[in-house]
Amino acid sequence: MLNSLTSQLRTIWTILQHSFTKAETVQYPEEKPYLAPRYRGRIVLTKDPDGEERCVACNLCAVACPVDCIALQQGVKDDGRWYPEFFRINFSRCIMCGMCEEACPTNAIQLTPDFEMCEYDRSNMVYEKEHLQIEGTGKYHDYNFYRVSGLAIEGKDKGEAQNEAPPIDVKSLLP
């Protein structure tokens, strides 16, 4: 009983001491806060170091999204790459949780330190691929999925990916 009373009194005293500490508040529009590169803000689609679209339309971001705000359709380019025919994020639903980035096997989808996305019309929050795609590699500079993947595309034949042996000649009798 007495303990809890002193505890309450101590609390009051501690709070009172805060009369002399500085406010943590950042006066936002005048004063911009520092946002780390890994800050989870507006989502972008990046390109690989060779300037090709990184997204292979595997749908993993869409299925990882807890609010189901990503929709896309896969297509195949003439050179054999998979790509999204359309890629849509409904930012009016997005909760910036970053699950899509975690799920992405090609580092294509990335969250950026930009949260200033206010619109008067909700439909302006629906971003299509042309709004999402950026020219650079984003946070991850070196990864190129097709250099690792076994899928053959134009300019990278079977056996030319990372850690791959040249294609087997089925007709060879050598061990």
Binding site: M1, Q8, T11, I12, T14, I15, L16, H18, S19, T21, K22, A23, E24, T25
Partner: protein, 318 residues
Amino acid sequence: MSELDTIGFGLVIIAAAVGGAAFLTWFERRLLGVWQDRYGPNRLGPFGVLQVLADMIKLLTKHDWVPPFADRAVFIFAPTAIVVAMLLGFAVVPFGPELYILDLNIGLLFFLGMTSLAVYSVLLGGLASNNKYALLGGLRSAAQMVSYEVFMGLSLMGVVMLTGSFSLRAIVEAQRDLWFCIPQFLGLFTFLIAGIAESHRLPFDLPEAEHELTAGFHTEYGGMKFAMFMLGEYLGLLLISCMIATLFFGGWLGPWLPPVVWFGLKVFILICFFILLRAAIPRPRYDQLMALGWKVMLPLTLLNLLLTGAIALLMEGA
């Protein structure tokens, strides 16, 4: 004072109380900001003081809406009741040796009566809203107020015993030598807690506990009617501070400065203290609140009464 002067002074008090309550809404937020390491409203006017004006404009221009399922007459009546009751309470407060509206010989009882009336406002508001959260809030407030009412009155009996009068002016005069906060320390403590509970401010705001009852009894209220509830709450805070200053801290008494300034200063410090409580102490559970009232505060009050009576008898005997 002539009757005309009394009415005039009464109007001045009403204006000051209402204005003070409105000012408090800004002041409380700023002060909470200070203690929580942030700023609070600081954008509008010097130090954000015009926030009060902005809030007023907002509340006044809001759609004056009564839910179709509510009991219309009672729904509208409820918020006015609390403001009226609280303002009436100011009638007996002596702001200075000659600055008062009424010097009733039962001033203290009048104050207790007025604060008790406030419960109707909350109860009726909750009931008329026809909403389960509002009803629960109303129920809680009824139980809370009735429970704390009991020892609120009793806690003051020590003061009355020492003074021998219910007149608030007499009580102040009786503290010329020693403020009652010393001999009546227990009384002060219990009255303080009862006062917070009566004005259902944090940490005892269970009737409107946001996280369990959305907004309790005023869930369905908005605009001007909601503003009345808020006004009532801040008037209650002001009134309780005035009463504590009067009953335990010698009212207007004090050296050098004019009496009114002394009174104002004491009230101001008490208000700051109440806001500090709000900033520091979390809300108890409902059953803890009731247990505290009945099992701790009531015995303490009775103990205080007993001791005060005994000491008073002894001193009289000596």
